[in-house]
């Protein structure tokens, strides 16, 4: 069978200007930060980012690569407001498509199922709907005649997710407390890149874990990248928790253009090996 393993640097060739990219994880939890750094190094622009947002969104706003963000929230969890995202919003520098969390789920699920929309109650009466002319309602064809939200599909060009382990065929495993909606991102996307803490044999995946932990099967995955600490500084349980000290440093980098340039040079404009080396140097 064919290996889907990609070298971390070869990932950069997967990105092009104007893409719609869905990013897995949730807030500051299990974000594919190594893949986000590759996206930064690629320099591609005019991106639409779809995310249960955390520092992935903040970084791509700070670099100016995100043109539009589709989100239900953007937060660092232990720091409520994502400072780089907030700065971009307050400067009018990024287009915001704000959805309810559940509307975002509906849009991804519809895309994965190749349907034009999903009917839901979520968003009725709210400004996520009233403020978005692209979301319409649908009248139930049955006797109840309810007017529901027809959440349009959110098809993605590319999905980026980070999981605990994968094999080289593209089967990937979530050992943490919550799969979030990573499988929906993968299904909604034309292509999916999975980074994993470790790439192991298929047999090894279930040696000490139930097959129900295998969140993604290989029909949902196009490329696999081995990336230890690939979600750092966000959490990737049970491998590691959030690096709160690092996260504070990241948040501080929004305090001035100089602070951001320093952070960017030290932690973004470099490959994974150099990133881990820089981390080791300060911790």
């Amino acid at each position: 069978m064919t290996s889907k393993v990609l070298d971390a640097e070869a990932v950069i060739e997967q990105f092009t200007d104007g893409m719609t990219i869905g990013i897995g994880g949730w807030g500051s939890r299990r974000k594919p930060m190594s893949l986000v750094r590759a996206l930064v190094r690629s320099g591609v622009r005019d991106l639409t980012i779809v995310s249960f947002g955390g520092p992935d969104v903040g970084i791509l706003c700070a670099t100016g690569q995100a043109k539009r963000v589709v989100y239900g929230f953007v937060t660092l969890d232990s720091i409520a407001i994502e400072p780089h995202f907030a700065a971009a919003r307050q400067a009018g520098a990024v287009e915001a498509v704000e959805l309810d969390e559940s509307l975002l789920v509906s849009g991804l699920r519809a895309a994965g199922r190749r349907l034009p929309f999903e009917a839901t109650r979520s968003g009725l009466g709210a400004d996520a709907l009233a403020g978005n002319p692209h979301i319409r309602t649908v009248t139930s064809p049955y006797d109840d005649g309810e007017v529901l939200v027809a959440m349009p599909a959110i098809p993605l060009d590319l999905a980026l997710v980070h999981l605990n382990r994968a094999d080289e065929l593209g089967n990937a495993q979530c050992l943490g407390p919550d799969p979030y909606f990573d499988d929906l991102f993968a299904r909604a996307a034309a292509r999916t890149i999975v980074s994993a803490e470790a790439v192991v044999t298929t047999a090894e995946l279930t040696r000490n874990a139930h097959p129900s932990t295998l969140l993604l099967n290989r029909t949902m995955v196009d490329h696999v990248v081995e990336s230890p600490l690939g979600a750092h500084f966000t959490s990737c349980l049970p491998d590691y928790g959030r690096d709160e000290a690092f996260q504070r440093e990241y948040a501080q980098s929004a305090s001035s253009p100089d602070a951001w340039q320093t952070f960017r040079a030290r932690y973004l404009d470099l490959d994974d090996a150099a990133y881990r080396a820089n981390l080791a140097g300060v911790r």
């Binding site: 919003r89 704000e98 109650r121 968003g123 709210a126 400004d127 407390p177």
Partner: protein
């Protein structure tokens, strides 16, 4: 025993939000509502269900600042969203702004295209309010958060729900608990009305802190004090390190 604090009155009012409720997920946001829900569980509402707010249903009732040691179920976000659509939940949310019909804003202050202050975003407030019982906890009742019109509607109020028609038939705003009093939506056209003032708060004080006229039908009552058992549970069992005082200083 020391005098009952304002925070302890608010905890008790939050507990009372859940009178008569069983086999629903109680989802409090904030320290005071979290203590309140756990107080309800240990007194009048033993069949409420609580979670850690992440992926685990709790099988115990730990102190507000201590982790659970007994998981009783698995509730990742995808399962939480399914539960929400069944209606078996009562959420206590916060809000940067709330208006007289209970429209809530968690998203951003100012013009939405370019806000003066970006906040969290909508989260699941729209989904919550249209599917199950919703209450609010506002720890610092002021004209900044009780406004004539919210800048962006995340959780929907009674007027928006009415306009949305029968599909919004599960909308139910219960009460708003603040550091000054308790309110509900029994006013004209389902607008906000005063239920009770916390001991020591005057009608003039709460009205001055509210950016719209507060309705009240007749004499306003005083929010009840916790009884001795409740006070013991709050002080010794659920919040022995007095986290409630940080949210509502005396």
């Amino acid at each position: 025993m020391n005098a009952v604090t304002r925070a302890e009155v608010a905890v008790t009012a939050c507990s009372d939000l859940f009178r008569g409720q069983a086999d629903i997920l109680a989802s409090p946001a904030g320290v005071v509502p979290t203590i309140g829900v756990r107080l309800a569980l240990l007194t009048h509402a033993p069949d409420l269900m609580i979670s850690d707010g992440e992926s685990t249903i709790l099988g115990d009732v730990p102190a507000v600042d201590r982790p659970s040691t007994t998981p009783a179920g698995y509730l990742p976000y995808r399962e939480l969203f399914e539960l929400i659509t069944t209606g078996r939940r009562h959420v206590v949310m916060g809000g940067a702004q709330i208006d007289r019909f209970g429209n809530q804003n968690l998203s951003a202050i100012g013009e939405h295209a370019r806000p003066t202050r970006q906040l969290l975003g909508t989260r699941a407030a729209a989904t919550n309010t249209v599917n199950h019982a919703t209450s609010y906890w506002i720890p610092r009742h002021s004209r900044r958060n009780f406004v004539e019109n919210v800048d962006y509607v995340t959780g929907i109020g009674t007027d928006r729900a009415r306009a949305a028609g029968t599909a919004a038939r599960f909308h139910r705003l219960h009460q708003v608990v603040t550091n000054l009093g308790v309110l509900d939506f029994s006013g004209p056209d389902s607008s906000m009305a005063l239920v009770s003032l916390h001991p020591g708060v005057t009608l003039e004080e709460i009205q001055a802190a509210t950016g719209f006229p507060l309705h009240s039908a007749g004499p306003v009552s005083t929010t009840r004090l916790p009884d001795e058992r409740e006070l013991h549970l709050i002080r010794e069992v659920l919040d022995p390190r007095n986290r409630r005082e940080q949210e509502v200083p005396s």
